[in-house]
Amino acid sequence: MNEPVVPLVESRDVSVHFSRWVGSRRRTVYALDDFSIAVAPGETVGLVGESGCGKSTAGRALLGAVKLTKGQVLFEGKDVTNLSRRNWRAMRKQVQMIFQDPYSALNPKIKIRDSIAEPFLVHTRKRGAELDAAVGELLEMVGMTASAADKYPHAFSGGQRQRIVIARALALHPGFVVADEATAALDVSIQAQIVNLLVELKESVGLSYLFISHNLAVVRHVSDRVAIMYLGHLMEIGSHHDIYENPTHPYSQALLSAVPVPDPTTRGDHEPLKGDLPSPMDPPKGCRFNTRCPLAVEQCFEERPPLRERSSGHLVACWVN
């Protein structure tokens, strides 16, 4: 990746395989294969794909939250792949995560204050009034009132809880935040509020995001660069413009044309992509998209296409296009 600056977070050829019991057999899930991505300071990279594409695993790999089968994760240019538990704890201050389900992301038995205060208690010496002030400040930053701290999660709606989750993630001023389907569980009117909040915070606090989502429209709205994944492989990565105006991989093209646009004047006949998603436990050989690709040729069934640069920063893994 030819970024002029040292990337804030970078993964190099990261693979994550894990085994899972299916009935009485142990099967390997190929969640992520040779995944390389870099997020520059202040940049938002969108990571898009359907279920089983490994996008959540990719996000967790960058946070050191899953065991890597292969590859390296770098933070500010330093290899953090094999950091000891103690050193990872220090890293934790700089990377954080926002989850999909705001209902399960807050402990129902704990007051909002204590949820938000946890990162301070773990990493800092802030206590008492100083801690309360910090919690109040964070709540106000995400558009809540400081008085929310005294309540339990059930007093809040999904959108409000997501704000609280964001406040907790930003407590220690991390530079890098993984937002894993952060708006997927919310109603559209609330989704817009949260998307706007995330964009605002990026400017005001100076954040980089890895924005993981299945929603291509939301990703288009927030991202500087976009990566498209399918069954654990990165298929295409490029600038916002490259992906949405000039999608090159047949999968990217199919994905974009499959999204229903909220505008009846765009109706037109298009042929939906055929077939089902293969299981990540049994991925096809060669290009993983070959079972559904309308353009597939013999080579696609034999050899995995490498990511090749089409124009500056626009990489596509396809033998045909």
Partner: protein, 319 residues
């Protein structure tokens, strides 16, 4: 049914988070309102309260005699209604001791033994369950195997061995009951932790760098409490029965102190003839208290279920 929309969207309060959401009804108030609707719950509470009251305040109540005072001329006086007098409302035993006073004294022993044993078992079992469930791996295997072994080992046998070694005492009974019921808490606790530890809030806490101890103590334990309290009450009933059984076998409290199990043991020779009331009242005391405790636990369980169900409905607007 997922397709049904929740009619009670709690997402309350207009304005961006600055409107006050509805104050949640406190758990206690909720508990009370639920109690009044449940006959089993009320009966359970009444029986248990009487039991505790008798055990705690019994000796200071007026008209209650000394449970150890013998009076051979009054031996085997029948209860009021069967030719007895109000001097001994429930009659006397083979040594002329007042049955009512001995029942109340027995309640003290029963309460002391069962509550202490259950507390020990609950604390020990829950801690082990938390560790096994959260840590997993070898520690989990070790704790689960220990629980399985304990499960298969008969408590009475353990009691016999310990009595043979140390001689009978109340404390021994407490320990025997505690070690024969800790694994119930371990199993239930571990099962709950298995589901809870996949919650996103646990992952969030791990990502924040919180220690395992902190996660178990601050995040997992509070979510176990309501289920474990119900379990405690259920185990209490079992402990009361066990205590009686041990006393009956002569492992527990020794004469002249009284215990319901001991009363049954001593009274059984008179069952068929001139002293049926000794065994009858002691047996009834055990049956009623165990029934009361079970009713209480049943009600707590139903309350938990309702609270859980309503919380899901209240918290998760569907559709």
């Amino acid at each position: 049914m997922t397709a049904v929309e929740n009619p009670m969207d709690p997402a309350a309060g207009a304005g961006t988070g600055d409107a006050a959401p509805p104050e949640s009804v406190t758990v206690m108030a909720e508990l009370r309102s639920h109690l009044w609707k449940s006959k089993a719950g009320i009966s359970g509470i009444v029986i248990c309260s009487l039991f505790v009251l008798a055990a705690v305040a019994g000796p200071w109540l007026p008209l209650i005699k000394d449970p150890t005072k013998q009076s051979l001329p009054d031996r085997l006086t029948p209860p009021v209604g069967w030719g007895g007098t109000w001097a001994h409302p429930l009659g006397t035993d083979q040594l002329g001791r007042d049955i009512l006073a001995r029942l109340i004294d027995g309640a003290r022993i029963s309460l002391l033994v069962s509550v202490t044993a259950v507390i020990i078992a609950a604390v020990l079992g829950t801690v082990l369950g938390l560790i096994a469930g959260y840590m997993g791996g070898k520690i989990d295997t070790l704790i689960v195997s220990a629980a399985d072994v304990q499960m298969a080992f008969p408590g009475v046998l353990a009691g016999l061995i310990l009595v043979a070694a140390f001689g009978p005492s109340v404390w021994l009974v407490i320990i025997v009951i505690a070690i024969s019921s800790w694994m119930v808490f371990t199993r239930v606790g571990r099962g709950l932790v298995f589901t809870l530890k996949t919650s996103l809030y646990v992952e969030a806490s791990e990502l924040a760098g919180a220690s395992s101890r902190r996660i178990m103590w601050r995040h997992l334990l509070p979510n176990l409490v309501s289920s474990l309290i119900t379990l405690c009450v259920l185990e209490l009933a079992a402990a009361i029965l066990s205590e009686s059984a041990f006393a009956f076998l002569g492992f527990g409290v020794q004469p002249p102190r009284s215990s319901w199990g001991l009363m049954i043991q001593q009274g059984r020779n008179y069952v068929t003839g001139d002293g049926w009331w000794i065994v009858t009242f002691a047996g009834m005391a055990i049956a009623i208290v165990v029934l009361g405790v079970n009713l209480l636990s049943l009600w707590l369980q139903s309350f938990n279920d309702v609270a859980e169900r309503e919380q899901i409905v209240l918290e998760r607007p569907g559709g």
